[in-house]
């Protein structure tokens, strides 16, 4: 693969117009610079109001930045001369999944919902059919293809929403708190789908969340705080400083907390961990032998 990052954000700023006052603005992003490579699984963490969702909307041309640039696959999306066709191409490259599964469903029947994107692309119906079936299969919802979306559970709806994006064959999927309204089972299912897409299909994932355990599953964690990138690194690196996270109104996953506490107790614990499966290995090594 060539060296150009899939998403290249340079010194991006954005302000919202205040609802009450005339012409007053409130800057929510102050100079974000960020590259996302093809095939990465990035988690964007931050408390409510840290600018996470704004960033997502900027990536998909829903909002326009005040200054700075966003390049997707080398194309500057902030260019005012972009034609409608260019915009459609860009939107095809980066798909969005939102928090509330009910508010992004257009169709009554699951497979028609998945077909909505490809229909907008003007594909022939035989190809739409292929894509819909493949996307349904990828999220494990084939059995629900003819079901009414209203009768599905939250997790199932969210998987249909992901399938709807997948059917547009994007290079990257941006998910804005996709699990925050789901029950534990729904969360698990959606997380599994996200991870599989990334690992097996090489889809670049930008997962906006405020769940530490979900963030720990990503390859890279970016912490946004008040419109600035506060930390950027592997989950192990980012979670290595629980006190700093606390000041950012965030916490660390329980296994990271355990690791820090054990180190304080004097246990010789290898390296930082963020995921239970790594933690158990490190624990066994630290404890030695067992039995």
């Amino acid at each position: 693969m060539d060296g150009t990052p899939l998403i290249a954000i340079d010194n991006l700023t954005f302000s919202y117009r205040e609802s009450g006052g005339q012409g007053t603005t409130r800057e929510v992003l102050h100079g974000i610079t960020l590259d996302v490579q093809r095939g990465e699984h990035v988690a964007v963490l931050g408390h409510n109001g840290s600018g996470k969702s704004t960033l997502a909307k900027l990536l998909n041309l829903i909002l326009e930045p005040d200054s700075g640039t966003i390049r997707i696959d080398g194309i500057e999306i902030t260019d005012p001369d972009l034609s409608d066709a260019d915009i459609l191409t860009l939107r095809k490259k980066i798909g969005m999944v939102f928090q509330n599964p009910d508010n992004q469903m257009v169709a009554t029947i699951a497979e028609e919902e998945v077909a909505f994107g490809p229909e907008n692309l003007g594909l022939p119906s035989s190809e739409i059919r292929e894509r819909v079936d493949a996307a349904m299969d990828a999220v494990g919802m084939t059995a629900f293809a003819k079901k009414e979306t209203a009768r599905l559970s939250g997790g199932q709806k969210q998987r249909i929403a992901i399938a709807g994006i997948l059917a547009m064959e994007p290079e990257c999927i941006v998910l804005d708190e996709p699990t925050s309204m789901l029950d534990p089972q729904g969360r698990k299912d959606v997380m599994k789908v996200i991870e599989t897409l990334n690992r097996e299909r090489g889809v670049t994932i930008v997962h906006i969340t405020h769940d530490m355990n979900e963030a720990a599953r990503a390859g890279r964690v970016i912490i946004l705080n008040d419109g600035r990138i506060e930390m950027d690194g592997t989950p192990e690196e980012v979670f290595s400083d629980p006190d700093r996270l606390e000041t950012l109104r965030l916490s660390v996953p329980q296994c990271t907390a355990l690791m820090h506490a054990l180190k304080k107790e004097g246990l010789n614990f290898e390296g930082p961990v963020a995921r239970p499966e790594d933690c158990i290995e490190a624990l066994c090594r630290a404890l030695g032998g067992g039995r």
Binding site: F98, D102, V106, T108, N120, G122, P124, K147, E148, A150
Partner: protein
Amino acid sequence: MKSVTMGRYYASNSVIHRLDPRGKIVLAILFIVSTFLCKNVAAFAFLFVGVLVLAAVSRVPLKVILRSLKGVTVVIAFAALLNLFLTSTENAHMLWEIGTWNGRVYGITEEGIIKAVCMVVRIITLIIGTTLLLTYTMTPIELTDGLSRLLWPLLKIRVPVDLFAMMMSIALRFIPTLSEDTERIMNAQKARGANFSEGGLIRKARALVPILIPLFVSSFKRGEELAVAMECRGYHSGDDRTRLNELHWKVRDTVTFILFVALGAAVVCINIFCAGVPFLPAVL
């Protein structure tokens, strides 16, 4: 979970389900016309049998179909009673005379009974036939799709048929969501002691404010988010959108179409040839 049963799609893969939606809309119109063409008992019986055949072919269980009639039992009963008691008693075969009022004799006549039965059969066939064609075997999307395709030529005179179609299908999609919202908000306000059943009309209307405002707020929010989501998925109006299920007029559509025309023609023939059977004016 509560469920709205009337007019719900019944998933199956029958011939009727696979018919072209455009065709089914036209068939429904043909069918409605046929029910109004019926002028005697024989014609009604014939049509009724036709509807039963349609139901059998569609593979929608009778139980489900009958449920759609539940909501209109009052209307059916009212129509039956009206015909039973208000059919002209002149030259009629009186079975049970009730009395005379304003110089008119009231009572139950044989003609009245026949008329009432025919009326009931007419309403039932009408409802079963149209719901079978338009809702049980057709998703709301197919319905709006079919309708918009039928009206597509109007795009030429700048009627935005595609936008109307999209609006319709989104509206349909949000009916269950909004009814759940309403129930949730109502429960939340009831839990704060709101009372929706007591008081006069004005008090009752005012009691709705705590429901309507949150409902508007949430609907606007839903609408806004939906618009963003649709834009992200590349939605744009115009006729360069394609469909997952393109409509193809097939042999089976032509065959069904001919069958329905034949049904209508048969009704007319029965009207003429079985004129001896008690006459019934095409009222209502």
